[in-house]
């Protein structure tokens, strides 16, 4: 049995939304992992009694002031937290659009039969 073109179009849209959601979830996971790493690095920097740390630039370790590196990491944490929030909002929106579309399709199916 072939589905009416209207339902087929809605199903295609549903599939696209699911793919978009999948992408957002993957991005969120990657940003959250980086955020975790940044926080852990900050935590470990606190343990170091030295005022200087080393930053890998290319293949070389460059001596840097601990405070400067801490500031950089804190800024990175802020940026990443903001990105996680943005991605969460996008995820919520997509979830609700998906739900709406699923309901719409379910309503269309009995009428098509």
């Amino acid at each position: 049995m072939e589905l009416p073109p209207q339902i087929q179009a809605q199903l295609m849209q549903l599939q696209q939304l699911q793919q978009q959601l999948q992408m957002i979830l993957m991005q969120k996971q990657s940003v959250e992992t980086e955020l975790k790493e940044c926080k852990k690095a900050l935590e470990e920097l606190e343990k170091s009694s030295s005022d200087e740390v080393y930053k890998l630039v290319g293949g070389l370790f460059v001596k840097r002031k601990k405070e400067d590196v801490k500031k950089e990491l804190e800024e990175k944490v802020e940026t990443l937290e903001l990105r996680v929030k943005t991605l969460e909002k996008q995820e919520e929106k997509l979830q609700s659009r998906l739900k709406e579309l699923q309901e719409k399709i379910q309503k269309m199916i009995p009428t098509a039969q």
Binding site: E37, C38, K40, A41, E44, L45, K47, S48, S49, S50, E52, V53, Y54, K55, L56, V57, F61, K66, V69, L73, K76
Partner: protein
């Protein structure tokens, strides 16, 4: 019946692919754990050796150069995000040991996931066998009736 067998076959293939992925991840974890254990052993050996002693430091895979151990109370450890910090010798050892513990815990989780996947595969095989036996019995019954 044929469709059911195809479905089971596909599901088993998907589970096997997941197991292979998890095994590859375990392989990567093992390599990292081995490197960390090597670091621990090297640090402990250098500490035991003491300051002023000469050691051979590898330069690439086939060359070594002589160097003197100067200071072993501080160790520069990578803390992630391309940053390395100087830690006290004991702190550095603890940091590495903690990393090993975390990785071993994660390894255990992956092993459990593999065991669960194997259990699912066994269930599917049992299901396929049962379906096949039922089909066989039905065929025999039909043949008897026909006779």
């Amino acid at each position: 019946m044929v469709n059911e067998v195809i479905d089971i076959n596909e599901a088993v293939r998907a589970y096997i692919a997941q197991i292979e992925g998890l095994r590859a991840e375990i392989g990567r974890l093992d390599a990292t754990i081995a490197t960390l254990r090597q670091s621990l052993a090297t640090l402990k050996s250098l500490k035991t050796l003491g300051e002023g002693k000469t050691v051979l430091v590898p330069v690439g895979s086939i060359a070594q150069v002589e160097m003197k151990v100067e200071k072993m109370d501080k160790v520069v450890v990578s803390v992630g995000q391309n940053i390395s910090a100087e830690l006290e010798y004991e702190e550095a050892l603890k940091y590495i040991e903690d990393e090993i513990k975390k990785l071993l815990t994660f390894r255990l989780v992956l092993e459990q996931a593999i065991a669960e996947l194997y259990a699912k595969i066994e269930d599917l095989i049992a299901e396929a066998q049962q379906t096949s036996e039922e089909e066989k019995a039905e065929e025999e019954e039909n043949e008897e009736k026909a006779e």
